[in-house]
Amino acid sequence: MLELIKGTKIDFLGKRKFAFIFSGILSVLGIFAIIQVANGKANLGIDFAGGTSIQLKFEKPIKLHEVRVALEEGGVRDFDLQDLPAVQKILIREKKTHQQLGQVSDTITGIISQKFPDNKYVVDSTTLIGPKVGGKLRVDAGQAVLLATLGILIYIAIRFKFDFAVGATVATFHDVLAVLAVFYFLGKEINLILVTALLTIAGYSLTDTVVVFDRIRENLRTRLKEPVEAVMNTSINEVLSRTIVTSFTVLITSFALFFFGGEVIHDFSLAMILGVIIGTYSSIFVASPIALFWEKKGFLKKRK
């Protein structure tokens, strides 16, 4: 029997103060990121902010700053450039659409063709989003996150006791906020794909929490004399290896996506990697302590 982790007796709940401080900071940063996103101060993808994005694939390597200079000379304003040198691609994003939708991309490709006549390119993709659509998608995305969390809360409340549901939901919210915070502070683009990843994380990170809670529930029935905190600690230790192994298999596939899945899915995979790691941490260090906290406040006194 190959076991990486066996017979551990770690006092996870004893370390809940550190966990609360660490997670508290992450959550506050995440809330800060949400406020910035709502105010349009984050690096919003054009699906949320509206604007134009064009991806060009060149025949020969091209220098990013030359493109920048060319576009500035051509009178294009408020744009971001990003390059994928390995595949000779350049991504141009223009957010404040002053011109009529559709003209920006023509202007940009016109300038590039004129300034780099001996480096042919193909337009890999262009995306134009009107400001109205962007605003609607932002609202939709916010609603989706809330709806998903509510759904999970209700389901866990039905299957477990309410205090467990609180623990699970807080842990889930924490995971989503933490990943968002990391993305915000790395300056990564906040877009629909990220929201998709966040929702997937919300659903998946619960797996670990459910595993832990199932064991706690089971042990609470058999170990009536032990204090709840000790039962929780034992339970977490007992399922520690499966918590880590299940996360590890999803991490393997997320890393495969990150390294080989191509640029379209790159940030999505990064979010998944972060989410799985943070989700595993929170199922151990956040979910149970919150449930315990709730219980100590007297909501869980019904146990016989």
């Binding site: 337009v123 998903a148 999970i152 797996t207 595993v211």
Partner: protein, 540 residues
């Protein structure tokens, strides 16, 4: 072998077979299948989303308010005629969505309101001010959106795109999806053109006409309009004709003073086709009117011999020839230095008819074919590497039981592809990511059960009892974790756009199928092993 185990293997075998049959169209093998198979068996398989096969996704907004305005203008015009017919003196003017009628007398009011009950009075002072009733305005907007949908469908059909998707979304939005299109820009122009064809008379009699310069530089239109605003007669307007110098290719604009009144519009057309001008070897579009149009055209030309008539498309003058004689037969032509493609596209939009109101592009996502195929390759690569790594890990960590989990994993992948093919689901790039994540999650169920079995074995149970209670006890944990993933997938499906819907579909199918493969698939293998003889030691 126990009967019940045998039946479970038969069930697994049948589902795998079904999955293969459904997925076959997506494999190169399908082309070698006999004709009867291609005709009678599933032949559609999984469709690739626009992001994978290349193409455009467009969202347009129909400017319904403009359609209401156009109707309001038409009513204002006929109110003028009405007053004349009823021998009432009065003024009718329209501004925006309001029609003002004066004087406010009983006769005028009765005449207007009896003829047009759809008009609602908004002001009854010295003037009578009307607007279309809210219900009528809604009806017009709805009609405009429906008509625009029909017209766009017509245009796309004539342009020739394989398998376009065109549908209405919300009250006034139209979604157009053109997979695999090679020239998206041209398609967008064809869709977006209002194609309002009008014939108006050039006003050469007004003294202002002589003051207007013969041409202005391109871009100088605004300056000229503001220079002449206020000077030109109330019933006139200035529109521009685009002039291209044949030698230098220089573009200039020729301003023309026109009567505002539209003599005729393009809705009386029956045919528009491209011909080649023999003299300059240039394409032009020839128009054929229907019987009513031909009669009207004959009357107009007969009454305006030696005058100039402008042919206007979407507010730009294409030509303004002098009418030499009464024209019968119902033919006209539009010339204007077209390229062959431009002429063809113009003929298409004229044949398909005008849009009832202008449309505005809200969203345009264009993906080139090379990005799509790159994405597929990258997705396959990530999928294969991810699967191999997971398979290896499971064998190392769980030995023979790991092999059983890997069997379930392969079963999972085959059934997932089969299920998607049977639903003719659309595979998108996030969808590929969903499949790959589902692979990682698929073994989770087995991990949970194996760990349970290890617990049971440690507690001193026999292998068979360990398997049974391991499955029983892990079941609800697995079920709960799957349901939470399904909840978020359902939300994603509800809110997501195309590519994200694809993700929700693959993820939720993957998770649902996983329940089957873990609970029926691996369990059956364990039961089979245990049924042969009493197993002393479980390789886990």
């Amino acid at each position: 072998m126990k009967k019940n185990i045998l039946w479970r293997f038969v069930l697994i075998g049948v589902t795998v077979l079904l999955a293969i049959v459904f997925f076959l169209p997506n494999t190169p093998l399908f082309q070698y299948m006999p004709e009867w198979w291609k005709n009678t068996m599933p032949n559609k398989g999984i469709t690739l989303g626009l992001d994978l096969q290349g193409g455009v996704h467009l969202v347009f907004e129909v400017e319904g308010d403009r359609a209401v305005e156009i109707t309001t203008e038409r009513i204002a015009q006929s109110l003028k005629d009405l007053l004349v017919r009823k021998k009432l003196t009065g003024e009718v003017s329209r501004s925006g969505l309001l029609i003002a009628v004066s004087p406010n007398s009983m006769e005028v009011r009765k005449a207007v309101e009896e003829t047009y009950p759809i008009l609602t009075p908004t002001e009854t002072g010295t003037k009578l001010v009307y607007k279309l009733s809210d219900r009528e305005a809604e009806r017009i907007k709805d009609n405009a959106a429906n008509q625009a949908l029909e017209t766009i469908r017509n245009r796309i059909d004539q342009f020739g795109v394989a398998e376009p998707t065109i549908h209405r979304q919300a009250a006034n939005e139209i979604v157009v999806q053109l997979p695999g299109i090679k020239d998206p820009k041209r398609a967008i122009e064809i869709i977006g053109k209002t194609a309002q064809l009008e014939f108006k008379m050039v006003d050469d009699s007004s003294p202002v006409a002589a003051e207007i310069p013969a041409s202005v530089k391109a871009g100088g239109e605004e300056a000229l309009l503001s220079q002449f605003s206020g000077k030109i007669p109330a019933e006139d307007e200035i529109l521009f004709e685009r002039i291209v110098n044949r030698e230098t290719g220089e573009v200039t604009k020729r301003p023309l003073l026109l009567k505002k009144q539209t003599m005729m519009t393009g809705d009386l057309l029956t045919e528009a086709k491209v011909n080649i001008d023999q003299r300059f070897n240039e394409p032009y579009v020839s128009l054929t009117f229907n019987a009513a149009g031909a009669k009207l055209f004959e009357e107009i030309t007969g009454a305006n011999v030696k005058k100039r008539m402008a042919i206007i498309l979407d507010g730009s003058v294409y030509s303004a020839p002098v009418i030499q004689e009464r024209i019968s037969g119902g033919n006209a032509q539009i010339t204007g230095r077209f390229s062959m493609d431009e002429a063809k596209d113009l003929a298409i939009v004229l044949r398909a008819g005008a849009l009832p109101a202008p449309i505005k592009m809200l969203q345009n996502v264009t993906v080139g074919p090379s990005l799509g195929s790159d994405s597929i390759e990258a997705g396959k690569m990530a999928g294969i590497i991810g699967t191999i790594l997971v398979v290896i890990f499971m064998v190392i960590y769980y030995k023979l039981s790991g092999v059983i989990a890997d069997f379930a994993l392969d079963l999972n992948i085959v059934l997932l592809l089969g299920a998607m093919a049977s639903l003719n689901a659309t595979l998108t790039m996030p969808g590929i990511a969903g499949i790959i994540l589902a692979i990682g999650m698929a073994v989770d169920s087995n991990v949970l059960m194996f760990e349970r079995m290890r617990d049971e074995l440690k507690a001193g149970k026999t292998p068979r009892a360990a398997v049974d209670s391991g499955y029983d006890k892990a079941f609800w944990t697995i079920f709960d974790s799957h349901v939470t993933t399904l909840i978020t997938a359902a939300v994603l499906f509800q809110f997501g756009t195309g590519p994200i819907k694809g993700f929700a579909v693959t993820l939720s199918l993957g998770v649902a199928i996983n329940l089957f493969t873990a609970l029926v698939g691996t369990k059956s293998v364990f039961d089979l092993i245990n049924s042969r003889q009493e197993v002393k030691k479980l390789s886990i």
